[in-house]
């Protein structure tokens, strides 16, 4: 698929996305907005786990950092939410940098455990510091604009998602992306050809965390209520499941996974709160039998020869 073809397809899909909510009711619009949040989360987590092989359990925590920073600043300091979101993103980036640097010398399992510990610590602090965060009750925060409009929020989230995806796309198709994938494939071999592995991994952490913080900040101001559910292992699981089912290490995979699972969730909700169980079972089967997810399966059925010499998607 050439670059031009891709751009055309992307433009078509984007126009479709712009028009889509106009014909839908309030609740479907909400589902789409939530899906866009997860598109940002899953795609940025994919940068860590799919492209640089760092399975972080602290991604939801970064979203929580973005959400709570922005929310607290809005409530306590009267800062406008847009400024809060920027600051939240910056703080998430900083923490991502720190966490990435912390995990540098650690092997895969230790890295995962450390990010897990980080997320748990954050969760506990948020729940306990009631005076600042309102704990499990949730922090009520102002919206991104004065008048609440679902459609406007939709376009904001769509623009944000497109921004995040554009940045990720540029990164992955740049030299950095090649380095990322080299590190993921074989770290020792990557080192032997001059790849600055440590720098690459910390960079991935910083960027991915900033993106999660950004997404979390916007999401919090959309929901108007920020709860510890954002920096939770449950949200982290959803992000992981979406990426795994969609296809780790592919650009489209997390996007597909995010939309698919969110829409599926709504269908399952009719019968009861079983969606997590269903996601889990599907994710288990996919992870076990088709580790490259849906996009991996699709790629398997393409003959080897027609692949371009440099990966497009």
């Amino acid at each position: 698929m050439t670059g031009k073809k891709l751009a055309v397809i992307a433009a078509i899909i984007l126009s479709g996305m712009c028009v889509l909510p106009l014909g839908l009711g309030i609740y479907p619009q909400h589902v789409l907005i939530v899906s866009l949040f997860y598109v940002m989360m899953a795609s940025s987590w994919n940068l860590l786990a799919g492209y640089t092989g760092q399975v972080s359990f602290g991604h939801a925590a970064m979203a929580g950092i973005g959400a709570y920073t922005s929310g607290i600043l809005a409530v306590k300091a009267g800062l406008h939410p847009w400024i809060g979101v920027c600051i939240g993103t910056a703080i998430a980036a900083l923490l991502g940098f720190g966490l990435g640097a912390l995990c540098l010398k650690m092997g895969g399992i230790y890295l995962s455990l450390t990010t897990l510990a980080f997320s748990q610590i954050l969760h506990i602090v948020i729940v306990n510091e009631y005076n600042v965060t309102r704990g499990t009750m949730g922090l009520q925060v102002p919206g991104l604009m004065d008048e609440y409009s679902k459609i406007t929020y939709y376009y904001i989230m769509l623009a944000a998602a497109v921004l995040i995806l554009a940045i990720l796309y540029r990164m992955i198709h740049s030299n950095l992306g090649l380095n990322f994938r080299a590190v993921q494939n074989d770290e020792a071999a990557a080192k032997s050809v001059g790849v600055r592995v440590l720098r690459v991994r910390v960079l991935a952490f910083t960027v991915a965390s900033a993106m999660a913080g950004f997404a979390g900040g916007l999401y919090g101001h959309y929901l108007l209520l920020i709860t510890p559910e954002i920096p939770s292992l449950d949200l982290q699981f959803k992000v992981l499941a979406m990426t795994v089912i969609g296809g780790m290490g592919s650009f489209l995979g997390p996007i597909l996974g995010a939309f698919a699972l969110n829409i599926l969730e709504e269908y399952i909700r009719v019968y009861g709160e079983y969606h997590v169980l269903v996601f889990g079972l599907v994710a288990l089967v996919v992870a076990r039998f088709a580790p490259n997810g849906l996009t991996g399966l699709w790629r398997k059925f393409r003959p080897v020869r027609t692949q371009p010499a440099v990966k497009q998607i």
Binding site: A49, G53, V55, F57, L102, K105, M106, G107, G108, I109, Y110, S112, L113, T114, L116, A117, F118, Q120, I121, I124, V125, V127, N128, L233, D234, F237, L240, A241, V244, Y274, V276, L277, G280, L281, A283, L284, A287, R288, P291
Partner: protein
């Protein structure tokens, strides 16, 4: 107050040590971290409740059956899920993480969100050193946990099976060359690891309520203990477990109950920063 915290710390410490031994065994032999460890711990609690309270089976028998069932489940999990991932740590981590969530939700569906409790073994309280009263069930738990740990130590250090386990976890290739069927050993070790979690589960189930998510903090703490004590060290699990149990309970009593679980995680990060090999672990090459 202080004394009771110490006692609680010891009881929890022994349980943590037991759970950690299960994790450590699997990590040592297969280099796999079983994220679903806590769910198997709690499953044993559910089983013992099911057999003892609901079906009226003798509580000792119920516990034995519970551990046995979880052991078999462990074998199945190894065969179906873990085996194909051998060599790829991240893959098994992701799979067991997903499994953990699936199990939690399955328990919610099957057993409901409300806590279940198998019957107490002993009731009443004892005067400890004439200083304070402490629940007999907890004392029994402490004794039972310590006994199981002692038995494990004997098996690993003294028996032929234990020797195979030690050899394989030190040098897998060498063990294979010497005729050890590492595939079967993997399966057995995984089952055994789950059985240890189950043992911890049945011991503690009468004391703490069995809910679908109650296994999560136990698993997380077991991981912390294994890192603190040092991967591959059994004494590390014991010392680490007791340390953590004491730190948590004293911390909860004197600093803050809400932050009880934070201590473990802070310790984890500190250990990984300062001395990743842990207290007794083998330093990496």
């Amino acid at each position: 107050m202080f004394a009771i915290s110490i006692m609680n710390g010891l009881v929890m410490g022994v349980i943590y040590a037991l759970a950690a031994l299960g994790v450590s065994l699997v990590v040592g032999i297969m280099n796999v971290v079983n994220f679903a460890h806590g769910e198997l711990y709690i499953l044993a609690g559910y089983f013992s409740y099911l057999f003892a309270s609901a079906l009226g089976v003798n509580f000792v028998l119920a516990m034995v059956i519970a551990v046995g069932l979880v052991f078999v489940l462990g074998l199945l999990i190894e065969y179906l899920l873990i085996r194909p991932t051998y060599g790829n740590d991240m893959y098994s981590l992701i799979l067991t993480f997903i499994l953990s969530i699936v199990l939690q939700n399955a328990y919610l569906l099957i057993f409901g969100p409300y806590p279940n409790k198998p019957p107490l073994w002993v009731s009443g309280a004892t005067d400890v050193f004439d200083l304070f009263l402490y629940g007999n069930q907890r004392l029994a738990a402490l004794a039972a946990g310590a006994t199981v740990i002692a038995v494990i130590f004997v098996i690993i250090k003294k028996t032929w099976f234990g020797r195979i386990i030690r050899a394989t976890s030190q040098d897998r290739d060498m063990a294979e060359l010497n005729g050890v069927d590492t595939t079967r050993l993997n399966m057995l070790s995984f089952g055994l690891g789950c059985a240890l979690a189950a043992a911890a589960g049945v011991i503690l189930a009468p004391v703490f309520p069995v809910t679908p998510t109650a296994g999560v903090p136990v698993a997380l703490t077991a991981f912390v203990v294994v890192v603190l004590g040092g991967m591959g060290s059994m004494w590390g699990c014991v010392v680490g477990g007791l340390t953590l149990g004491l730190v948590e309970n004293l911390g909860a009593a004197f600093i803050s109950t809400g932050y009880k679980n934070v201590f473990g995680f802070i310790i984890l990060i500190l250990v990984l920063l300062v001395r990743p090999a842990g207290l007794f672990g083998r330093a990496k090459i």
